[in-house]
C-alpha cells in the first residue's frame, strides 16, 4: 500500500515536471519563432517603420474621436478628459501588449479550415506557442507606443495624490490587463477549434473589449458592466484599478480591495484559457474536423 502511494507520488512529480518542461519548451519555441519573424521584419527597415507608424496613426484616430467628444462636453459619465485619457491609456497599453504577444492567434480558425494546423502538430514543441508566435508582428508596437503616450499625458495631468500604492498599481494593472487580454485571445482561439468561422466573435471580445474599456463604466448599461466584471472580467484591466487610483466610486459598488485583484484574476483567466485550449486541441485531434 505504502509502496503504491509512493509510486503515485513519484508519477505526480514527473507529471508536474513534465508540465513545467512543456511551459519552458513553449516559451523557448515562442522566442525562437518570434525572433525569426523579427529578424525577417528588420530586413526591410523602411517597410517596418512605415507599417509601425501606420499602426500608430490608426490607433491614434481612436483617441482623436474621444478628443472630439470632449470638444462638446466636459465630462463622460462624470469623468473629465484626463481621467478618460487614463482609462484609454491603460486599456490601449494592456491590449497592445497582448495583441503584440499573441494577436496572431485569431488566425487559428483559418489554420483549422485549411489543414495547416496539422503541420504544427508534427513538430516537437507545443502548438500554442507555435500559433501564438506565428507572424509575430513587431509593427503592433505602434499601438503600444500610442497607448503609452496617452497614458503619459494622463499621468501628467490627472489630479491625483500619488501614494506608493497608487503608483505601484499602474504597472501591475497594465501587466495583469495584458494577461487578461491574452487569456481572451487564447480562449477565443480555443473556441475556433469548434467553430472555425468564429474569429468575428473573438474580435468582439478583444478589439471590442479594448474599445469599451476606453470609456468610463458609468456610460454603459448595468448588465454590460456586470458581464464585463463577472463573466469576461475585462473590468479588472482598468475600470477597477483606475477607480482606485483616481478615487472614483467603484462600478457595481464593489468593495475597495478588488482594485488589487487584477493579478489574481489574470492568473485565473490564463489557467482557464489554458484548459479551454487543451480541450479544443483534444477535440481537434479526435475529430480532425
Amino acid at each position: 500500500m505504502a509502496e503504491a502511494t509512493e509510486r503515485t507520488e513519484a508519477t505526480e512529480v514527473t507529471g508536474a515536471e513534465a508540465r513545467r518542461g512543456r511551459v519552458v519548451e513553449g516559451v523557448r519555441a515562442y522566442g525562437l519563432i518570434a525572433g525569426m519573424w523579427i529578424r525577417s521584419t528588420m530586413a526591410y527597415r523602411t517597410s517596418f517603420a512605415l507599417t509601425t507608424f501606420g499602426n500608430f496613426a490608426m490607433t491614434a484616430l481612436d483617441f482623436v474621436a474621444i478628443l472630439l467628444m470632449f470638444s462638446r462636453v466636459d465630462a463622460l459619465g462624470g469623468w473629465p478628459l484626463p481621467e478618460v485619457a487614463f482609462l484609454y491609456g491603460m486599456s490601449a497599453v494592456s491590449f497592445g501588449l497582448a495583441d503584440l504577444a499573441i494577436g496572431s492567434m485569431e488566425r487559428l480558425g483559418r489554420r483549422v479550415r485549411d489543414g495547416t494546423l496539422d503541420t504544427l502538430l508534427v513538430r516537437p514543441v507545443p502548438v500554442l506557442a507555435q500559433v501564438a508566435a506565428d507572424r509575430f508582428g513587431l509593427r503592433r508596437l505602434g499601438r503600444v507606443v500610442q497607448g503609452l503616450l496617452v497614458l503619459g499625458y494622463a499621468l501628467a495631468v490627472v489630479d491625483v495624490d500619488w501614494t506608493a500604492a497608487r503608483l505601484l498599481l499602474v504597472p501591475v494593472a497594465l501587466l495583469s490587463g495584458a494577461g487578461i487580454f491574452c487569456a481572451v485571445f487564447v480562449a477565443a482561439a480555443a473556441f475556433q477549434f469548434v467553430a472555425q468561422d468564429a474569429s468575428e466573435v473573438s474580435n468582439a471580445f478583444t478589439y471590442g473589449g479594448t474599445t469599451m474599456l476606453q470609456y468610463p463604466p458609468a456610460v454603459f448599461a448595468l448588465d454590460l458592466v456586470r458581464g464585463a466584471t463577472f463573466v469576461v472580467p475585462l473590468a479588472f484591466v482598468n475600470w477597477l484599478p483606475a477607480s482606485f487610483v483616481l478615487g472614483r466610486p467603484y462600478p457595481l459598488d464593489l468593495p475597495g480591495w478588488v482594485a488589487f485583484t487584477p493579478p489574481l484574476v489574470a492568473a485565473a483567466c490564463c489557467a482557464l484559457a489554458g484548459l479551454a485550449w487543451r480541450a479544443g486541441l483534444r477535440s481537434y485531434r479526435s475529430t480532425g474536423s
Binding site: 519548451e25 519555441a29 525562437l32 519563432i33 525569426m36 519573424w37 529578424r39 525577417s40 485549411d114 489543414g115 495547416t116 496539422d118 503541420t119 502538430l121 508534427v122 513538430r123 516537437p124 514543441v125 507545443p126 507572424r135 483534444r282 485531434r285 479526435s286 475529430t287 480532425g288
Partner: protein, 341 residues
C-alpha cells in the same frame, strides 16, 4: 480482414516472424471513427458515424520502403495522421518506435519526418533558409549534424539557389524538395510522405524519387508514402499496401497487385488515316476506334516496346502515347473481385 491481408502477401520473407523481430511501426486493429453531423433542417442535425479506418493491422520493419495507396477517402491520410500523433485513434493499438504517437506526440516528433504534399511545413513568407535555421534550433539538432544534413540535402535536392527565396515564390516542385529537406534535417528514423509527387512535373518527380531511393539505401530511413501515382511505387517501393474503406485490401509486392487487379495499360495510336482495327499481337487488343485514332489495351506487366515497334512497322503511325493504369481502377477491379469471390 487481417487474415485476408496476410494471405495476399506475396513477399518471400515470412511476414509474421520477420516483422515481429524488428517491427518499427505496429498497428493492431486500429480504428478511427468520425462523427459527422449534417444539418437536416432548422436546428435539426443528423449524426452519422464514418469509419475512416476500420480495424487496420500491419507492421513495417526498420528500413522498409512502403507504398500506401488507395482511392480518395480510403483512409490513407487518416492513417498517416494517426501515425504522426495528429489524430487520436478511436480504437486498437498503434506504436511507432515503441511510442504511442497520440500520447507522446512531441517526443515522437524528434524521431519522425513528415511531408504533406498538399501543404507545406515551411514558413510561407520567409526565405527557405530561415525555416531550416528555425528547425535547427527547434529540434535541437547538433550544429555539425545540422550542417552536414543541410549540405547533403542542398546538394542532392539542388536547393542552393533557392535558399534565399521566400517559400511562397517557389514552384511546386521546388517547394516539395524544400519540404523534404526540412523533414530530414533532424535525422528522422521514419519519413512519412503524403502525396509527395502530386502536381509535380516529370523532371521534379524524377528528382524526388531519386532522392528518396538514395535516402533509403544510404541512411536506412524507413519510408512510408501515400500516392496516386503507381510509378512512385514502381520505382521506389518493394512493398505496397492497398487500403479501401479503411481496410487493408492488399499487402505485398507491386507485381502481385497488378496480377491481383489484372490492370492494363492503354496505348493510344494516331494513324495517318482511318483504318480497320489494328491486328495486334496477343495479349494486346484494340478496345476502341475513333477515326484515325485507336486505343489498345495490354497488361501493365508487359513491355510496350514490342507492341509499338510492330505497329510502327506495319501501320502509317503519326503519333502515340501510353497511358498507365490508374490506381483507382486497379483497386476497383480488385475490390469487385473480392466481393465476387
Amino acid at each position: 480482414m487481417a487474415e485476408m491481408a496476410k494471405t495476399t502477401r506475396t513477399t518471400q520473407a515470412d511476414p509474421v516472424t520477420g516483422a515481429e523481430a524488428s517491427a518499427f511501426i505496429e498497428l493492431d486493429g486500429v480504428e478511427k471513427v468520425f462523427d459527422v453531423r449534417k444539418k437536416t433542417g432548422f436546428l435539426k442535425r443528423e449524426r452519422r458515424q464514418v469509419r475512416a479506418v476500420d480495424g487496420l493491422s500491419f507492421t513495417v520493419s526498420r528500413g522498409e520502403m512502403v507504398g500506401y495507396i488507395g482511392p480518395n477517402g480510403a483512409g490513407k491520410s487518416t492513417t498517416i495522421k494517426m501515425l504522426t500523433g495528429i489524430l487520436t485513434p478511436s480504437g486498437g493499438r498503434l506504436r511507432v518506435a515503441g511510442i504511442d504517437p497520440s500520447r507522446e506526440r512531441t517526443r515522437l516528433a524528434h524521431r519522425i519526418g513528415v511531408v504533406f504534399g498538399q501543404r507545406t511545413t515551411l514558413w510561407w513568407d520567409l526565405p527557405l533558409i530561415d525555416s531550416y535555421r528555425l528547425m535547427h534550433r527547434m529540434y535541437r539538432i547538433p550544429d555539425a549534424r545540422y550542417r552536414e544534413n543541410l549540405d547533403r540535402c542542398v546538394e542532392l535536392l539542388q536547393l542552393a539557389e533557392l535558399l534565399d527565396v521566400p517559400v511562397r515564390q517557389l514552384s511546386l516542385g521546388q517547394r516539395m524538395r524544400g519540404d523534404i529537406a526540412a523533414a530530414l534535417l533532424h535525422d528522422p528514423e521514419v519519413l512519412y510522405l503524403d502525396e509527395p509527387t502530386i502536381g509535380l512535373d516529370v523532371v521534379s518527380k524524377a528528382k524526388v524519387r531519386g532522392f528518396l531511393r538514395d535516402l533509403n539505401a544510404e541512411c536506412g530511413t524507413t519510408v512510408l508514402l501515400t500516392t496516386h501515382d503507381l510509378q512512385d511505387i514502381e520505382q521506389l517501393c518493394s512493398r505496397v499496401m492497398v487500403i479501401d474503406h479503411g481496410r487493408l485490401m492488399y499487402d505485398g509486392a507491386l507485381d502481385g497487385l497488378h496480377e491481383a487487379g489484372e490492370s492494363e495499360r492503354t496505348l493510344v495510336v494516331d494513324l495517318e488515316r482511318e483504318l480497320p482495327p489494328i491486328d495486334a499481337p496477343e495479349p494486346a487488343r484494340v478496345v476502341r476506334v475513333e477515326g484515325p485514332r485507336q486505343w489498345l489495351a495490354f497488361p501493365a506487366s508487359a513491355s510496350a516496346a514490342g507492341l509499338v515497334a510492330r505497329i510502327a512497322a506495319e501501320y502509317p503511325l503519326v503519333d502515340l502515347s501510353v497511358r498507365e493504369p490508374d490506381i483507382e481502377s486497379v483497386i476497383a477491379k480488385m475490390y469487385a473481385e473480392r466481393a465476387g469471390a
